[in-house]
Symmetry: C2
Subunit: 365 residues, 2 copies
């Protein structure tokens, strides 16, 4: 981890607001596309080595004037987060575990040598922004407002070294229901050629390079008709790590297992929440190395009962078919398993305020 | 590799020129800092899925208006190159093996799912830009004009998928002599915690994420007084890969060895040129896996005669001391070896037009 002198990190910043005089037309809740439409405002806060983080502000959504030598373009010093604001039946707007995302943002920052951000300022920034754009939180079942906090290195300098200037920003995008016709299993394929991450690399951090590196593999499996890549570990290509941009869970012979946080896996907020819910229900979750062979073997013996991905976008994504070493393994007859379904409904129930929130996961806006 | 339909890649583009009416003051040749000052113009060419690469132009150096949702900020789809223009004693300006850099740019593009760029257009773009800013090529011994071609994903979209819009740009920065007082050995340290790259990852490509990921390790060894990180392979942490942002060569018991291009190593233009020169001189170079233990063992036996890094910035960077597993290994008494020196003088001699160019490496501007 990088040690950066950021004494200002503990200072809660005042947030100034400049309202957008030219409000855009909002898209119809039925026609929302993920990540293509952005709201009327954005949050931005600057960092300069001399003065630390400063000038926190909500301003009209607008292009950034970036020097072509900005370090983010060349050396990729950047981190991001992804969470959502949900509209409840009563019309309230609420966030799901935003402090978890902010804590992860700062862990990613530490790995990427980016100065830490005051967590309270980050939360207040997100809340202030969502509040001013609260009419953008869609109403239709399953829709939400996607929140994208991110940090970019803005110094104009071509040396390979941590930048002295950054911008922390938050932008918002209304998104449609992930499942058009109810939660639906996907087909995934093991990737043997490409590696997403390796211990000692950046896999634990939510940073741009991990995603850029994953695209070739994703394109490859998509061309073969699979929705997501099942990533194996980078050292031995033996252990299961993640599926696409999600963490993964298996139910084998009544037991729930998920890869442990080995250092190359993103510690998902959804993953953490799933484990908590299962514990609440008296179902222990084993967090440990899971060899691909173990899962294939279980499938052959008829013991692989369920498998699902877990992440903010889909919440729970059941896996109906796994392609590995030239063979297809069908899981639960291509149907969503009972446990996957129960987890999905409980999590989305809490997120949309339909059911009780026993762990204070919800933060109102 | 990603397969992108880019039929336009073979089309040589016309380059329009808009001259900068407000020329900047040029810095003094004695006070050049690497990568901080940029010239009066830049080259830019846009890509759009519908029309391919288009609108190649040289324009005044200026900020880019970037949507905050531009994919480069979030998913790091970007590649870059680095080469130099040198001023000869006769006042001419010349490039060193630019077609090698352009070929590597396109190999990086393929790995990162970025559409290929017509090589002739890229070369013409670089030449046109350097030509219009030729007064920026410094005159002092050892100085040069650093050329930074790069591609960034510009589409405003938060989906993890190859972008449909890119910009290919070239910017220029006059740089001082790398060695103030003649070529000078550095101290390097083995890195056991962090990994730069792993086969199946993006190490072979010149892409931002590799550099972002390397900063924590670089900061760590710098704090201990070492100039560069000696990177080991990501699978076994056993084999030597690169040193900092350079390829590495060893002379052991009269033989020259360098790590083979394993898939996680950047194929350096300097590396390739060093191998060619040594072959010209009747010195065979073994390209093969090199275990760290082999080098340490050779050092203990007094057989490690020379070690040097090879890259565009320093050309040759002799290694005077290697720190590994808690011990310091001194190489050639902290002095530049004869072979390192001969390679350095020959390469820089060719670059500055002081000696004959037997392989047509030089391209005049
Ligand atoms: C690589 C990766 N793994 C896992 C996840 C799931 O994390 P979370 O549940 O916090 O969304 C994400 C998405 O955020 C991701 O990008
Ligand atoms: C990681 C890495 N390795 C090696 C090199 C050396 O390559 P070249 O000789 O083409 O400059 C560079 C610099 O370009 C680099 O960034």
């Amino acid at each position: 981890m990088c040690h950066i002198d950021t004494k200002e990190r503990f200072i809660l910043q005042q947030i100034s607001i400049t309202e957008n005089p030219n409000k855009k037309d909002k898209p119809n809740d039925n026609a929302l596309q993920f990540g293509k439409t952005f709201t009327d405002h954005m949050f931005i806060m600057d960092y300069d080595k001399e003065i630390g983080w400063h000038d926190a502000r909500v301003v009209p959504y607008q292009p950034l004037a970036m020097d072509p030598a900005s370090m983010v373009f060349h050396y990729g010093q950047t981190v991001f987060e992804g969470l959502k604001a949900y509209r409840t039946d009563r019309g309230d707007v609420q966030l799901f575990r935003p402090t978890e995302n902010i804590a992860r943002l700062n862990r990613s920052n530490a790995r990427m040598c980016i100065p830490e951000i005051d967590a309270d300022t980050a939360l207040k920034g997100i809340q202030t922004l969502v509040d001013i754009d609260r009419d953008w939180v869609p109403h239709l079942e399953g829709t939400s407002l996607y929140i994208r906090p991110f940090v970019i290195a803005t110094e104009a300098y071509l040396g390979v070294a941590p930048a002295s200037k950054y911008a922390f920003m938050v932008i918002l995008s209304p998104v449609g229901a992930y499942y058009d016709a109810g939660i639906n299993p996907v087909k995934i394929a093991v990737e043997n050629e490409y590696i997403r991450a390796v211990k000692g690399g950046t896999g634990e951090a939510k940073t741009a390079g991990n995603y850029a590196g994953s695209m070739a593999a994703q394109e490859k499996v998509a061309a073969l008709g699979y929705a997501q890549v099942l990533w194996l570990d980078g050292h031995e290509k033996k252990y299961i790590e993640e599926v696409g941009s999600m963490n993964i869970f298996f139910k084998i012979n009544g037991k729930v297992i998920t890869p442990h946080l080995s250092g190359s896996i993103l510690p998902g907020v959804t993953r953490k929440s799933v484990i908590q819910l299962l514990n609440d229900w008296g179902i222990a979750v084993e967090e440990r190395p899971i060899a691909l062979t173990e899962v294939l073997e279980a499938s052959r013996k008829g013991e692989l009962e369920e498998a699902f991905g877990a992440g903010t976008a889909a919440v729970i994504s059941p896996i109906g078919e796994l392609f590995a070493d030239g063979e297809s393994y069908i899981i639960n007859n291509h149907k969503t398993g009972d446990l996957s379904k129960r987890v999905y409904e409980t999590l989305t129930g809490i997120q949309y305020g339909r059911i009780e929130d026993p762990h204070q996961w919800i933060v109102r806006v």
